[in-house]
Structure formats: structure tokens, C-alpha cells
Symmetry: C2
């Protein structure tokens, strides 16, 4: 089995190195092949997603991704900026199903900005559609406004679009995820305003008939943002579009206060996937050896589970991570009084030892 | 001075009645004229925004609005549903500047789901553009997908659009609001993905040159949703588009845990405005006399300040509201042990008495 390893920028290389150590410690025979992406891709080959990197990602069975982005690329034109790599991989590999768990480990309850009784035991799964919506919808651009109250003025425009089969596809993924959990699914849209959302909602209702054991409910995105603050534990599985999912999954992740712990998976229809931490490249702490590698290590576990069919090995990693937390080891982002502060490499080594 | 009073549905009539009592107690000679809107408009004249209601709103100097919506209208076609009234008023009256304060009164700090040290003293002003964006952008609808990977399938689509003068207009409002506060303005967009957002950001930067005393910063919407959870007090004035503003203003409001306290204003270029509580019509508690009228009463205060030029009377109302809170009076939504539970009418009467 071949894994494409794309460390990227900022803390990416450091945290991916630890996840690779953990994978190597499992005693399986993976082929790991590394390639530059994001700012590193731009430096190496003038593009955030070099052709050779894309080819490797296509050829691999799964992709382990670090993080991309650095302020030093802010002045590049958009098409060359690091985050285009991630958009390009999602699009070219048709990674349409994004799984973003927001889990609060009991040892880390204090890290949240919310009151413990509101968040302790939080365990939400956000299923975000990742190939459609206003992220990729054509037409888009800058033009002279063709009509409306500002006709003739320069305007920017983008198109939100979702087709029935596109919504069906993510609906099935979400309903099946809900079947494996509490059988409750909340679909988030803005159907009181948007045509796209109305079609989204109608399609969700339609697909729900194939899953009579799952209870489907609907919520407007503004209300979802409120309920995530007020009563986050009232959610279990949430399914939503690319744009709303971007916002809500980050909000949900931050409810835990320990975003350094949260993995994510982006899958295609054959369960081939890209795995990355939910956090970013944190260029401010890059190279200092203090980044938390656990989200990336847990992303590797998700990879074993979803794309490589190695459930047992995934379990082993997840158990090892819980063990190091129970041992009191903490990188600075999750450290609190009474626990032991460790660096990126020590944390990775502790997980390997705990395996 | 003529005020259009549009109570609407659910708890709307009850809370607006108290705000009207407060206005009448000021000893000013306002003409208050009432008209049905939302579900009430549909019942009375077959449309959520009857022509006569729109005409009254146009003729008035300001509009005091309750809330609209009830589950019983859920099965109506979208154009007839209650919330179309609010969209129609915003559009026809060109109410493009929405002010949504998120303020946590010190007496109510316990009501928040966030830790006291994270939210106590919270005082954010969200300035949301209200006439453009994907809310009103044409074209929109349902069609056969003309292109893309799902060409030929049925799809919903909407258009996000912002023109330079449209962004300039809200930028000036936001910079001027920031000048009256801490001179810090955060513009929220998704310019790493959207063309509309890139034009938004470029225009904000352009307008900022006219306000050298205000410090402008930019934040992606997903990061803003995170920072609102993590460190809400790091924000002062936030300016954003219609769609992102819908989500973030509700999220920010809920951080306080006391959304029953939060007023809002929607202004046109001449400062004529519509004033309404940030919360909804709460049909589940309608008619029970337990709704919190303070958000509506504070909306009346905003009306006096922004549209009617009666700053002193606005101050009087706001002081009276603080007084009743200090007296320990609480409607059920903000009640906690050690305070006195009161109903809608008692709360309104207490504010009148405190004036
Ligand atoms: C980097 C950016 C384009 C991306 C997105 O908006 O999807 C990121 O925020 C994410 O959520 O993975
Ligand atoms: C009722 C709805 C159309 C409206 C909006 O989305 O703007 C509401 O959520 C608001 O924020 O005032």
C-alpha cells in the first residue's frame, strides 16, 4: 500500500514526521513517498500543487497531508497561494466527503472556553461536502455589473450550485455515518433564503426515505451557529455544504479548545482519502519543536480506518494517544498546571512507545 | 414624527406592546401607526408584506418591528412565508446597514455558556451589509445544470455579488462606527476562495485610506467563527457581508447567553431605519406573557438615537433597562437563583417606572 506524504509548510513537516514515525512503528509494510505541496511546492516547482505531487497523490492509496500556508506567500496571486493546493487536491481527486470530528477528550476539558458542563464529553461529527458549492461554482470573476441597483459598477461574483446527485452522494455518506453513531442527523442549510439550500433540503428529505432508522432534522445555518455555542452536545452528526461546513466545522473544533487534537478525512467515492489535521500551518511556531503532532497522528489513524482497511491498527493508535494524555503529557497548546509539558518529538515518541 | 409599528407573529405583539408603552412614557409626541406583517400580514391580506404595510413603512420616519414566523406557515411556498417580509422591507427601503451589538450585561454574565473570564464585559458591534450578497443576487433558481461534472442534472443555484460602490457604502458606515468606539475594525471575508470576497477586501483597504485613525484588519470567516469562540473580547467592530454577517452575528449574540437582551438596527443611507430584537418570534412561548421585552425596548432606544435624533431619550431608556436589571428583575430566559422572576408586562412596566 502506497501512502503519499505531503508535509507542506509551517509546522507541517514537524507534525507529519511524527505521524510517519507512528505509522512505521506499526510493523506494516507501507510505501511512504513524500512530495512538496503548498508554499513548499511553490518554492520547489513554482506551483502550490506541482504536477508530480498531484500525480503521486493520484497514484497513492491514501494521502497524509500536513498543513499549508505562510504569510510570506500572501502577496502572490491567488492561483499560486499555498491553499490552492488543498482546493486542487480536493477537486482533482474528487474528495467530496469531508469528515471533521469535534471531540473533547476528558483530560482536556479545561482547555475549552466554554463551561465544562456545556462541553465535557462533546463528540460531534461534521460531514461537509467538499467538491461543490460556491467554492468551485462557475461562473465567477470580476466584471462590470450587468444589472441590479449598481449596474455598470465593477463587481465580484461567485456562483453557489448544488445538483441533486451531488447532494444525494453526500447525503448517503452522512446517513451511513449516522447509522454507525446515534442515528440522528442534522442537515444545515439556509433554505429560507437560498434556492440551492431548498434543493439541498428537498434532496436530503428524499434520501432519508432510504434510511428509516435515522432521524433527520433541518436547521438554518445561523441557528446552527447559535446552537453550537448554546448546546453543542445536542448535535451528533451534522451534514452541510462546503461553505457552511467550512465555518461550522471550525467553530465546532474550537469549542473543544484543543484544535491541536482534531484530525480530518476527505474521501472520494471509493474511500480513497486525504488526511490532515484540522488546524493550520501555524508559521509563528514553525521549527520550534513545540507543535502538537496528535491531530496528525490521529489523522493517520483515520487513514488506516477509512482508506486502508486497517481498523485494528487505527484502534491501536487511538488507544496510544489516549494513553499519553492519561500519562499527563501535553504540548504547550494543551498544557495546564499539573501536567507535563513536552515538545513535538517527545509527544510523537511517547505515542510510539505507547503502541 | 411617525413610527410604523409592525408587531408580527409569535411573541412579536407582546414585546412590541411593551416597547410602545416605553415610547409613550417619554413624553414626546410620536405618531405610532400599526400594521400587520409576516404571518399576520398573510392572515390579514394574503401576503407577508402587504402593500399597505410597505406603504406605511415607506412613509414613516422609523419602523419598530417585532418578529415574524410560525411553524404553521412552514408549508407555504417560500414567497409567502413570514420571513419574506423582513427581506422585502430591507430591499424596498434599501436598509443596507445592519447594526448588531453583542453586549453582555454584567448582571447576566452567568447566562453565557462560555466561561465568565472569556465573556464578561463583552461588547462587540457587528456591522452586516444587508442589501446585497447571495441574499438578493440574480440569477438564481432551479434549472438543468448547464455544465460541470453534473451537467444535465437538476440543480439549485444562487449568485453572490458585491460591487465596489456597495462595499464602499457599508465600509464608510463601519469605519465611522469604529471611530466612535475603539478605532479597531475587523473585516471578515473568504478572499482565499471567493472572487466577491477579494473585491470586498480590496475595497475595504481602499476606503481605509480615508480613515487613518482606524486600524483595519482582515480575517477569514472560518477563523472569525473560531476566534469568536476562543477570544470574543478580541473583537470590537466587525464588518462583513450579508451571508457571513447572518451567521457571525447570531453566533456572537449567543455568546452572551442572553439574546433576549439584544437589539438591532437596519439603516438606509439617510439613517432611516428598521429596529427589531435580535431574537425570533418564539412561537412556543407566544401568548404566555413570559417573553423578554428588553431587546425590543432597547431597539426602540436605538431608533431614538439613530433615526429620530433623540439621544437623550435613548440614554434614558438604556439607563432604565440597566436599573431594572440591577433591581434583580428577570424574565424566565435570563432568570437565575437569587433574582426575581417577572413576566413580559411587569418587565415593561418596571422599565416605564424606572424612566
Ligand atoms: C484553506 C481553505 C481554502 C480551506 C477551506 O476553506 O476549505 C480551509 O479553511 C479548510 O477548511 O480546509
Ligand atoms: C429570517 C432570515 C431571512 C433573516 C436573515 O437571514 O437575514 C434572519 O436570520 C436575520 O438574520 O435577520
Amino acid at each position: 500500500m502506497k501512502i503519499a506524504v505531503l508535509p507542506g509548510d509551517g509546522i507541517g513537516p514537524e507534525i507529519v514526521a511524527e505521524a510517519v514515525n507512528v505509522l512505521n512503528a506499526l510493523g506494516e509494510s507501507f510505501t511512504l513517498e513524500e512530495a512538496p505541496v503548498g508554499g513548499a511546492g511553490y518554492e520547489a516547482q513554482g506551483h502550490p500543487l506541482p504536477d508530480s505531487t498531484l500525480a503521486l497523490a493520484k497514484a497513492a492509496d491514501a494521502i497524509l497531508f500536513g498543513a499549508v500556508g505562510d504569510w510570506k506567500y500572501d502577496s502572490l496571486e491567488r492561483a499560486l497561494r499555498p491553499e490552492q493546493a488543498i482546493l486542487g487536491l480536493r477537486k482533482h481527486l474528487q474528495l467530496f466527503a469531508n469528515f471533521r470530528p469535534a471531540i473533547l477528550y476528558k483530560e482536556l476539558a479545561g482547555a475549552s472556553s466554554l463551561k465544562p458542563e456545556i462541553v465535557s464529553g462533546l463528540d460531534i461529527l461534521i460531514v461537509r461536502e467538499l467538491n461543490g458549492d460556491i467554492y468551485f461554482g462557475q461562473p465567477r470573476g470580476v466584471r462590470e455589473a450587468p444589472d441590479g441597483p449598481f449596474a455598470g459598477a465593477r463587481e465580484g461574483f461567485d456562483t453557489m450550485r448544488y445538483s441533486v446527485p451531488e447532494v444525494q452522494r453526500i447525503a448517503h455518506v452522512a446517513f451511513q455515518a449516522a447509522q454507525k453513531r446515534s442515528r440522528k442527523l442534522t442537515s444545515v442549510d439556509k433554505s429560507n433564503v437560498l434556492e440551492t439550500s431548498q434543493l439541498w433540503r428537498d434532496t436530503m428529505i428524499d434520501v432519508s426515505k432510504q434510511y428509516p432508522d435515522v432521524e433527520l432534522s433541518h436547521m438554518y445555518v445561523d441557528n446552527a451557529a447559535m446552537q453550537l455555542v448554546k448546546a453543542p452536545k445536542s448535535f451528533d452528526v451534522v451534514v452541510t455544504g462546503n461553505m457552511f461546513g467550512d465555518i461550522l466545522s471550525d467553530q465546532a473544533a474550537m469549542l473543544t479548545g484543543s484544535i491541536g487534537m482534531l484530525p480530518s478525512a476527505s474521501l472520494d467515492k471509493a474511500n480513497k482519502g486525504l488526511y490532515e489535521p484540522s488546524h493550520g500551518s501555524a508559521p509563528d511556531i514553525a521549527g520550534k519543536g513545540i507543535a502538537n503532532p496528535l491531530a496528525t497522528i490521529l489523522s493517520a489513524a483515520m487513514m488506516l480506518r477509512y482508506s486502508l482497511g486497517k481498523t485494528e491498527q487505527a484502534d491501536r493508535i487511538e488507544t496510544a494517544v489516549k494513553k499519553v494524555l492519561a500519562q499527563g503529557l501535553r504540548t504547550p497548546d494543551i498544557w495546564e498546571a499539573g501536567t507535563q509539558k513536552v515538545g513535538t518529538r517527545e509527544m510523537g515518541a511517547a505515542v510510539v512507545a505507547a503502541l
